[in-house]
């Protein structure tokens, strides 16, 4: 075990509104400190909007506009163009949204901003469902996971947003996890220095939504990475894939067993899920060699 040096710049304040034990707040702290002071934030309805806080308080030291759910990328584009038009070219625009606001209702605006290669840093906190409204299925909810609107388990796969974004040939796409904070911080720093559209998708195990223990968010997200369910990757210019975490080292069993949302699955479904993860991993590895 080794201590990690962490540069705490104080850009995220205590007393925020996240659930106790939520890894999204932890990720927010790392992201806001990495992105720095000269930043304007856009946040849309999601857990992260709640974490930023209600009027007149704010947990962030940067300004935020609380935008509309389907408009995250469009509003971030507008902020950037507004700043540029007033000579503030060097200000980073940081857009924070959940998976509902990214994979579902915000996908159209996201695709448009990606196609225009807007100079924004878009972070999706992916807790694989509409967790802020009490836990319903989104198109990011994985196969077999139960939610309030898929009590018997979702019958279709999680949408592959990385590949959708890669098809737009934007300069930078990455995935990250609160279990690998140095990796997250480095990716934010790297993305900030790139001109054009950058998207980072951060896996966020939702304590009530996934049915996990209050102290297990980081552990579950680490297992998501280590089992290959949520690999840490970078995609540059939509073409160059790289895997930033160690190889897939674990079966999915421990990852599944810590969550209530998979409690109902049969042994055969478990085998199918493992096969699906293995196949996805193989395709990813093949992409890194292209």
């Amino acid at each position: 075990m080794k201590d990690i040096e962490y540069n705490e710049a104080g850009q995220f304040c205590s007393g925020h509104n996240a659930c106790a034990g939520c890894a999204e707040a932890l990720s927010m702290r790392v992201i806001l400190n990495a992105v720095g002071k000269n930043t304007v934030g856009v946040v849309v309805p999601s857990c992260v909007a709640i974490i930023v806080g209600a009027h007149p308080r704010s947990s962030a030291k940067i300004p935020f506009i609380h935008g509309l759910l389907e408009s995250a990328a469009a509003m971030a584009s507008g902020v950037k163009r507004g700043l540029v038009s007033q000579g503030k070219d060097d200000t980073t625009v940081l857009c924070l949204a959940g998976d509902g606001g990214t994979y579902d209702i915000g996908l159209q605006a996201l695709s448009s901003a990606a196609e225009r290669n807007e100079d924004i840093l878009y972070v999706c906190f992916d807790n694989e469902g509409y967790m802020n409204t009490g836990g319903q299925t989104s198109s990011s909810t994985p196969l077999a996971a139960s939610t309030g609107s898929s009590p018997l388990g979702k019958t279709t796969r999680k949408k592959n947003l990385v590949e959708i974004l890669a098809a737009h040939r934007i300069p930078y796409i990455a995935t990250a996890s609160p279990s690998h904070l140095s990796d997250l911080s480095e990716k934010v720093t790297k993305a900030k220095a790139i001109r054009g559209m950058k998207v980072i998708i951060v896996v966020i195990p939702c304590l009530p939504g996934w049915g996990i223990a209050d102290d297990a968010a980081v552990k579950v997200s680490r297992l998501a990475v280590e089992s290959g369910v949520f690999p840490l990757i970078e995609v540059e210019d939509g073409l160059r894939y790289s895997i930033n975490s160690a190889d897939k080292t674990k079966p999915i069993d421990e990852y599944l067993d810590l969550q209530k949302r998979y409690r109902h699955i049969s042994d055969s479904e478990r085998v199918e899920l493992q096969q699906d993860v293995d196949d996805s991993w193989d395709r990813l590895v093949a992409r890194t060699k292209m």
């Binding site: 806080g53 300004p63 902020v79 507004g82």
Partner: protein, 388 residues
């Protein structure tokens, strides 16, 4: 237009190109735009200006009107001067953002070309697209001619930035948007003096960790609407000031209402947009035939300049409201506004509501002449009347 026209720098422009000229002169910082018939010539002309280095505006062309207005809202929140343009379905798609823009007190100027909404599909002049947005908190102005559209879009920025309310200017599809007329284009320097850039740097500022639009309690939300109400109370005065100052600069003064031959009138038409041109012609013919007719053109619809309307109609026994729109189950929107505004007033005129030209059907001058003759002495009838 009833004002003396100063014929300087005349160009042959259609209504939409006149709007684009007005926008060029107002020089917004950002303009998110999405094409839709019959607004598209505004977008194309602005991009022509931009491509020829005649316009410094940041133009972005997102995938929908929803994103266009979302970008407009966000850009305005950085302190930028922002313009957008749309029509019909586009305005309806923007609806959610219209509430947001007004609630955030963002002085965006939007030009809307009035067109029938689907279903069924149609591309015809009808004002229900913008009238159905009347509760969103936007100031609404209606223009009759290309010249008025150019002049009004510049005045709209002045009204918006003084009140911190968004302003929507409307003209009718094709009748105004594509009608070509000689238009006097003002001098850029004169417009810059008329419309100086306002410092709105108190908005999204990297030195202040504050949020715009964050969730708020009931009392706070209630207060935002009281503050909007107070701002709305200033709009009639600001519109008068903007129109008067414009007159001093250009020779073309404007007011919230335009009165035409209303002195001693026994019957007046009350209408908005291109219908005013037809009604003005009908007034002239009626006067020639001995009927004392007049016209009240409503230029500022929201907020309705009700005190001015009361003054304008004080001695007039009969008002015929011509609505090129239909609110199902109610009737004409302008008719309803007048009925509400005159309810309980002493010496109120008899007010009739006519559904004329709904869906862009032709309204000949003779039709209006006949209405005046038939209804000038008729008994009060509150029901909307379809005119064929």
């Amino acid at each position: 237009m009833n004002a003396p026209i100063r014929n300087e720098n005349l160009q042959l422009l259609n209504g939409n190109h006149a709007v684009a000229w007005g926008v060029r002169l107002a020089s917004p910082d950002v303009a998110p735009l999405y094409p839709i018939t019959p607004q598209t010539p505004i977008l194309e002309k602005l991009i022509d200006f931009k491509s020829a280095d005649l316009l410094g505006t940041e133009i972005l062309t997102p995938e929908s009107e929803h994103s266009a207005m979302a970008a407009a809202v966000a850009a305005s929140a950085t302190g930028a001067r922002v313009f957008s343009a749309t029509s019909s379905q586009g305005l309806l798609l923007m609806h959610e953002l219209l509430h947001y823009a007004a609630g955030s007190r963002l002085p965006i100027v939007l030009f809307n070309v009035n067109r029938t909404p689907a279903a069924p599909w149609g591309f015809w002049p009808d004002q229900i697209d913008s009238l159905s947005q009347r509760d969103t908190g936007w100031v609404q102005l209606y223009s009759e001619t290309p010249q008025e559209s150019l002049d009004t879009v510049i005045q709209a920025f002045r009204i918006a930035e003084a009140s911190e309310l968004p302003v929507m200017v409307n003209h009718d599809a094709f009748y105004v948007s594509h009608a070509v007329e000689p238009v006097s284009v003002p001098d850029q320097g004169a417009v810059e003096l008329y419309l100086p850039k306002v410092d709105r740097s108190m908005w999204l500022d990297t030195d202040i960790g504050r949020a715009i639009g964050a969730p708020i309690g009931q009392d706070g939300w209630n207060r935002t609407r009281r503050e909007m109400d107070a701002a709305m109370q200033t709009i009639v005065g600001l519109t008068k000031d903007a129109g008067k100052a414009w007159g001093e600069m250009s020779g073309r003064p404007y007011a919230p209402l335009e009165l035409y031959r209303c002195d001693d009138a026994e019957v007046v038409f009350v209408t908005m947009g291109s219908m005013a041109g037809t009604a003005r012609e009908a007034v002239d013919r009626l006067r020639e035939s001995g009927v004392a007719a007049g016209l009240v053109k409503v230029r500022l619809f929201r907020p309705m300049p009700m005190a001015d309307l009361h003054a304008a109609l004080a001695d007039i026994p009969c008002a015929l409201v011509l609505d090129r729109n239909y609110s199902p189950g109610v009737g004409g929107v302008l008719h309803q506004e007048l009925m509400a505004g005159f309810y309980g007033a002493e010496n109120a005129p008899r007010i009739f509501g006519f559904l004329t030209g709904v869906g862009g059907t032709n309204v000949p001058v003779e039709m209006l002449e006949k209405l005046a003759v038939d209804y000038r002495q008729a008994k009060q009838n509150n029901n909307p009347i379809w005119v064929e």
